[in-house]
Amino acid sequence: MIYRETGQFKTNYKADNSIFPILQDRIAIIFYLFVAFIVIPAFGSDFFINSMMIPFLIFALAAIGLNILTGFTGQISLGTGAFMGVGAYSCYKLVTIFPDTNVIFLIVISGFFSAAIGMVFGLPSLRIKGFYLVVTTLAAQFFLEWCFIRIEWLYNYNTSGAIEVPRREVFNVIVTGPEAAAVTQYLVVLSIVVAMTWIASNLIHGRIGRSWMMIRDMDIAAELMGVRPLYAKLSAFAVSSFYAGVAGAMMVFMWLGAAEVESFDVNHSFLILFMVIIGGLGSIKGSFLGAAFIWMLPVVLRAFPKALGLDVPVATVEHVNFMIIGGLIIFFLIIEPNGLARIWALLKQKLRVWPFPY
C-alpha cells in the first residue's frame, strides 16, 4: 500500500545491488535511524534506554553474530553465551592492562579474541554436522564457562570472581562505569551496532556471504564450486564469534557494569538462539526483530498487570511469562517457521501487491 515502486528503475549495478532497492524502504531506514539517534535519546526515559534499548541492541548484535553462523552458514551453535563471555573478559583484561586506551576501541578489539576462540571451536565443524555440532558448541560453552571461573587471571583475581567495569572516559565523556549516562552508553552501543550491522550486511551480500550460504544450502555443491569449507566455515565462526564477543563486551561495559559467569551461561546461548529463530534464520532484520521480541516482550508482559491495575504476585507473572514465551515460540514456529523476518517480508509483499492478494 505504501509501496509505490512504479518508476523506480535501476540504471547501474550499484543501485540494483543496493541493500534497500526500494525508495520507501530507504525512507523507512532513515526514519528508524532518526528515531534511534535523535528521538530516543531526546525523549526516552532512563529505564527505557537502559533496560530496553541497550540490551535490545546488544542482543540484536549477538543475534546477528549467531545468525551469520546458524542462519547464513547453517552451523547450529549453542555457544554464543560463552563467546560473548570471551569478549567480555578480554575487554576487561584489555581495559585494565591498558587503562588509557580508548575503551570503545578496546571493546571492538576484544571481538578478535572471541573470534580466535570461536575459530578453535569451529574446527570440529569441518567434520561434524547438525545436532552433532550442537554438542561441540555446548562443549565450548561449558568449557569456557569453567575457564571464566577457574582462570582467576581473567578477572584479576577478584575475590568475588566478577568483573567490574571501571570508569573510563572518551574525549572527556564518561563512557563506562556507573557514572556513565545512559544516553551516552546508548549512543555508543547504537553506533557500534549500526556500524557492525552495516558491515555484516556488506559481508553477506558479497562473495564471503555467498560462500557461507553456499555451504549452508548445499555444502557439497559449494565445494565443487570452489568454496573451501575450511575457509568458509571458519570465517563464519570467526565473524560470528567476533560479533558475539563485541556484544558480550558491550553487555558488561555498556549495560550491566559488572558480570559474573552466569551472564554468559547456556541460558544466554538459548536466549540468542531464540532471537535468531523467532526473528528469522538468515535475516539481519530478523535478528533485530527477534531481539526486540524476546527481550522486550517479557518487560512489557511484566509491566502489563501493573498497567492494568491488577495485583498479581510477581512470581505468577514470571511463571506466566515463561508460559507465554514458550507458547509463543511454538505458535510462531507453527504459523511461520521462518520467523518474524518472514512475516515482515510477507507483510511487505502484501503491501507491495496491495490491493491484490498476491
Binding site: 538462539l273 505468577t316 514465551i325
Partner: protein, 318 residues
C-alpha cells in the same frame, strides 16, 4: 616432570592405593551413568519414532517429578499421585501431538527442535505456576522406595551402596527391558519400529502417525517420570535439574540418536568417565571439570568417529 607425574602416574597410584574408594567411584559412575542413560533413552524413543530431537526431555523429567511431589503435597496419597502423574504425562503427550507436532509435520528438524525448546519454556512456567517454584524433596519413602544404605567392607576399606541407587539401577533395568520387549513383541511396538524405518511404509500399513507420536511421547513421559523419581531422590526436585538433562546430548552423541543400547552404553561411558576424571584428575585443573568433561569427550570422539559409536559410516551421495 612433576606435572607429568601428576597427570600420568599419581591418579593410578591413588586408585591402587585406595581400591575401596576406587570401587566407590566406579559405583557412583555407574549409577550416574544409568540415570544419564535413562534421560537419553527418553530422547531416543522420540527421535527414533518421529525424528524429533526432543529438547524438552530433561524438562519433562523435572516436570514429571514436580507433578508427583506437587500432587502429594496437595494431599493426594503417594501411589495415587504416581498414577495421576502418569495420567498427566499421558495428557502431555496428547497435547504435544495435538497442539504442536501435528502442525509441524514436514518442517525441518531444526524447527521441531526449536519447538521442543519452546515446550521446555512452557513446561517450566507451567510447572512452577501450578506447583510453585521452590525446591521440593522427592517422596521417596512414601513411594515405598528404600532409603537406607549398605556398607560393604572391601579391601581394607568400605564401599557404601545407597539402597535408592540400587533401586534406581534395578528400575532402569526393568524399564529398559520392558521397553525392549514392548518394541519387539507388541503390535504397537512393531508399528513403532516400522515408523522408525520408513514413515511412508508405516502409513501404508495403516498406522496413524499421530497415534504413534502420542505413544512415544507417553513412553518418553513414563521414562521421564521414572528418571525424575530417581534423580529427585538423589538430589531434589527443581528446574535447576534441567542442566543435568543436557548431559544426555553427549551421551546421545556417543551412543547414537537412534540406538537404545547406544544410549545405555553412552550413558555408562559418560557416567564412569566423568566421575573418574573429576575425582582423579579434576584436582589438577582446580575441580569442577564435570561440567564440561562429557561434552569434550563427545567432541573428541566425534572428530574421530563422526557417525557415533554405533552409527554406520556415512557415504555422501550427490
Amino acid at each position: 616432570m612433576d606435572l607429568l607425574y601428576d597427570i600420568f602416574a599419581d591418579p593410578f597410584v591413588q586408585m591402587a592405593g585406595m581400591p575401596d574408594f576406587f570401587v566407590q567411584v566406579l559405583w557412583e559412575g555407574f549409577v550416574t551413568g544409568t540415570l544419564y542413560a535413562l534421560i537419553a533413552l527418553g530422547f531416543v524413543l522420540i527421535f527414533k519414532a518421529s525424528g524429533v530431537f526432543n529438547f524438552a526431555q530433561g524438562i519433562m523429567v523435572v516436570f514429571a517429578a514436580l507433578t508427583l511431589v506437587g500432587l502429594y503435597q496437595a494431599g493426594v496419597p503417594a501411589l495415587l499421585a504416581l498414577v495421576l502423574s502418569l495420567g498427566v504425562m499421558g495428557t502431555l503427550a496428547v497435547s504435544v501431538e495435538r497442539l504442536v507436532l501435528r502442525h509441524l509435520v514436514n518442517q525441518p528438524d531444526i524447527i521441531l527442535f526449536m519447538a521442543t525448546i519452546g515446550l521446555s519454556y512452557f513446561l517450566i512456567g507451567f510447572g512452577e505456576f501450578i506447583f510453585g517454584g521452590e525446591t521440593k524433596s522427592m517422596i521417596t519413602s512414601e513411594l515405598g522406595l528404600p532409603t537406607g544404605s549398605s556398607v560393604v567392607d572391601f579391601a581394607g576399606g568400605i564401599v557404601i551402596f545407597q539402597h535408592i541407587d540400587i533401586a534406581a539401577v534395578v528400575i532402569a533395568g526393568i524399564l529398559v527391558t520392558s521397553l525392549a520387549l514392548f518394541f519387539s513383541k507388541s503390535r504397537i511396538g512393531r508399528a513403532l519400529r516400522a515408523v522408525a524405518d520408513d514413515h511412508q511404509a508405516a502409513l501404508s500399513v495403516g498406522i496413524s502417525l499421530n497415534q504413534i507420536w502420542v505413544i512415544v511421547w507417553f513412553a518418553a513421559g513414563i521414562v521421564a517420570l521414572a528418571t525424575g523419581i530417581m534423580w529427585g531422590a538423589r538430589s531434589d526436585v527443581s528446574f535447576a535439574l534441567q542442566i543435568v538433562a543436557l548431559k544426555a546430548l553427549p551421551v546421545l552423541i556417543l551412543g547414537g540418536f537412534t540406538s537404545v543400547p547406544g544410549a545405555i552404553v553412552g550413558g555408562l561411558i559418560i557416567g564412569f568417565g566423568e566421575k573418574i576424571f573429576e575425582v582423579y584428575w579434576g584436582g589438577l585443573l582446580g575441580g569442577g571439570v564435570e561440567g564440561w568433561f562429557a561434552y569434550v569427550i563427545a567432541l573428541i570422539f566425534l572428530l574421530f568417529r563422526p557417525q557415533g559409536l554405533f552409527g554406520e559410516k556415512i557415504i555422501e551421495r550427490i
